[in-house]
């Protein structure tokens, strides 16, 4: 029931791919993400040490044998970083997935029933969750939980990151739902579930991917901050926890700058890469932004 025929769809798709290929931001960001992902998955191949192992001399600065140096106790920081990346990716992925699904679902509902009581209630929940900071809730929860795992962290980070996704999806839905093809589906008594899925979600697919990427990096950052504060999982290793260890043992005051700064640099570069991919994708998929850039 779409107004656009198949040839146009193919054309615009090619256009977007072309724009994506010509975007150095998208390429550079994706390149770094893939590299770190491969490094973290195949960590045992790239480093001979495990993160807990006493691998070499204590407090050694970066060298060929230990690219990121060693800790106060002689553990290899490079392998800690590689192994820690896995948890960072995992929490970011699942947290981002939960936040995107929840936010998109509620955003569709609120947008579709725009102006009704359902919309009001969902938006009120959005506003309440936007005001209560995730970090504060997590502090309360973690004060009582004896054992915290990465799954719990992902769930909590996801549960408190959905509001802005819901807000964004809602306003997109509001502008999409008055299209003729949506009206046609409505008068032909298509169930709401199907209508939202076929007519609204399908047309927002690219946008939803974008939301997911931003949520992914948002969850990585939120989880890293929690780990850094000391509210992360009670067992295991993540980039935030490596930094927590470093600051807790006074790495800066002892002059062991590599302990805190190098893993943090990897984390920063990772978040920056996600940001670049999102910006590049936005420019590639959104003709309006492309045009705007062309004008300037």
């Amino acid at each position: 029931m779409k107004t656009a025929g198949p040839p146009r769809v193919i054309f615009s798709r090619h256009e977007a791919v072309l724009a994506a290929f010509s975007s150095p931001k998208l390429f550079g960001g994706l390149f770094f993400i893939v590299i770190t992902l491969v490094l973290s998955i195949l960590a045992p191949l790239f480093t001979p040490y495990t993160p807990e192992q006493i691998a070499g001399p204590k407090e050694a600065p970066p060298s060929a044998a230990h690219p990121f140096g060693t800790t106060l106790f002689g553990r290899d920081i490079f392998s800690q970083t590689l192994y820690g990346l896995g948890a960072t990716f995992g929490v970011g992925f699942f947290g981002g997935l939960i936040a995107t699904l929840l936010g998109a679902g509620l955003g569709f509902l609120a947008g579709y029933y725009g102006g009704t009581l359902i919309d009001e209630l969902i938006m009120m929940a959005v506003n309440v969750f936007l005001v209560i900071p995730l970090i504060a809730v997590l502090i309360i929860i973690s004060a009582y939980l004896e054992f915290r795992g990465f799954v719990l962290e992902a769930v909590i980070v996801g549960l408190f990151n959905w509001p802005w996704a819901a807000r964004a999806v809602r306003s997109q839905t509001l502008s999409l739902k008055n299209n003729e093809y949506v009206n046609l589906s409505r008068i032909s008594a298509l169930p709401v579930r199907k209508l939202v899925w076929q007519d609204i979600a399908a047309n927002m697919f690219a946008y939803l991917i974008l939301v997911f990427i931003l949520q992914f990096s948002g969850c990585v950052l939120a989880a890293a901050t929690l780990d850094f504060i000391g509210l992360g999982p009670t067992r295991g290793l993540s980039l935030g926890m490596v930094l927590h260890e470093a600051v807790n043992w006074g790495a800066i005051n002892l002059g062991l700058w590599w302990w805190a700064i190098l893993p943090g640099a990897v984390l920063t570069a990772l978040i920056l890469s996600f940001f670049m991919v999102a910006t590049g994708l936005d420019e590639a998929l959104n003709p309006r932004l492309r045009r705007v850039r062309g004008v300037i």
Binding site: A136, I139, I229, L243, W257
Partner: protein, 330 residues
């Protein structure tokens, strides 16, 4: 105008009730008896177990029906009774938090306001000049992506250890007592500089990146093209686009605040700066549950107040906002 404000006030009221309820509910929902969990975690030397246990029993009142517990919780909150800190026993939680808050305000207000004004200026500049854009923006992108705590560690190492020109711990030297003397104020500012900078730089980067895109968008819009075709000076167009792009940045303040707060907590930990964040950190390390709860309530209270202020400013700046809440947004 009134309707908008009323709606916002209701939302904030619900938020506060929700936060207090959460605060009350979480210990009661956790598996097991909260009192025995807390006691098993405490167990350090020098703590009087029996005394603390009776204190917990009195505060939780688990023998009463739940609605009575809930009402009593509200009653004690409204009378300003947040319980007693265990780690700084017998100092009341409200007093402990009251001591920390001035440090937070001194850190957060300059960081938020300063980064907002300067970040927006730099972003607008980058949008107008290609040279600035290609030279400054990559750096600003990197800064805006940096976690607050990482930048804090970086600054602490560079200025504090490598150059040795700034202290990296506390809010003042040990030998000077807090007072309004020039010596103390200078000492405080010396300690304050690095935590301030680490918050300021990241946030300014975020504002600049946002502002650049907003101004670019405004420059592509019909009114600026029209102005251009009329032959208006670029200075005039700049002023118009800047003002229009500024509005979303005001509402963006309330969205960024949550993340910023997490950054404040982390930064205070890096520098042992005695604000609410560092207090919270020590409360977590010492399992001081009432202190943690009190910090939580104050953080939510701060968020609500800040959001309300942002709403009021936004309302003053943009009359259209009335429509956005009473009618359709799109």
């Amino acid at each position: 105008m009134k309707r908008f404000l009323k709606k916002k006030l209701i939302i904030y009221l619900v938020t506060i009730v929700f936060a207090v309820t959460l605060n009350w509910l979480i210990p009661r929902l956790m598996p097991g008896d909260p009192i025995s969990i807390l006691l098993s975690r405490l167990g350090g030397p020098g703590t009087d177990q029996a005394q603390i246990e009776s204190f917990f029993r009195r505060s939780f009142q688990l023998d009463r029906p739940w609605y009575e517990q809930y009402l009593n919780y509200w009653k004690s909150l409204l009378t300003g009774d947040l319980g007693v800190s265990i780690y700084l026993y017998p100092k009341p939680v409200a007093a402990v938090i009251g001591d920390a808050i001035p440090y937070d305000l001194l850190l957060m207000f300059p960081a938020i306001l300063g980064s907002w004004f300067i970040g927006n200026r730099v972003g607008a500049l980058a949008a107008h000049s290609r040279k600035t854009d290609s030279r400054v923006m990559p750096l600003l992108y990197a800064l805006s992506a940096a976690p607050y705590f990482w930048l804090a560690v970086l600054l602490a190492w560079f200025f504090g250890i490598l150059l040795g020109i700034t202290p990296v711990q506390g809010a003042s030297s040990i030998f000077i007592l807090p007072s309004l003397t020039p010596a103390y104020i200078l000492d405080f500012l010396h300690h304050w500089l690095l935590p301030f900078l680490s918050l300021f730089i990241v946030m300014a980067g975020q504002w600049a990146v946002g502002m650049r895109n907003l101004v670019l968008y405004e420059r592509g819009s019909d009114y600026s093209r029209y102005l251009k075709s009329l032959g208006a000076s670029s200075k005039l167009i700049r002023r118009y686009t800047y003002r229009n792009a500024l509005l979303p940045q005001v509402s963006g303040l309330s969205i960024r605040l949550g993340q910023f707060l997490a950054g404040v907590v982390a930064t205070e930990i890096v520098f042992s700066y005695p604000g609410l964040g560092y207090l919270l950190y020590r409360a977590i390390l010492n399992q001081d549950y009432f202190l943690i709860q009190g910090c939580f309530l104050f953080i939510v209270l701060f968020m609500v107040t800040a959001n309300l202020v942002v709403d009021l400013i936004y309302m003053l700046l943009d009359p259209r906002v009335r429509m956005s809440l009473t009618g359709e947004e799109a």
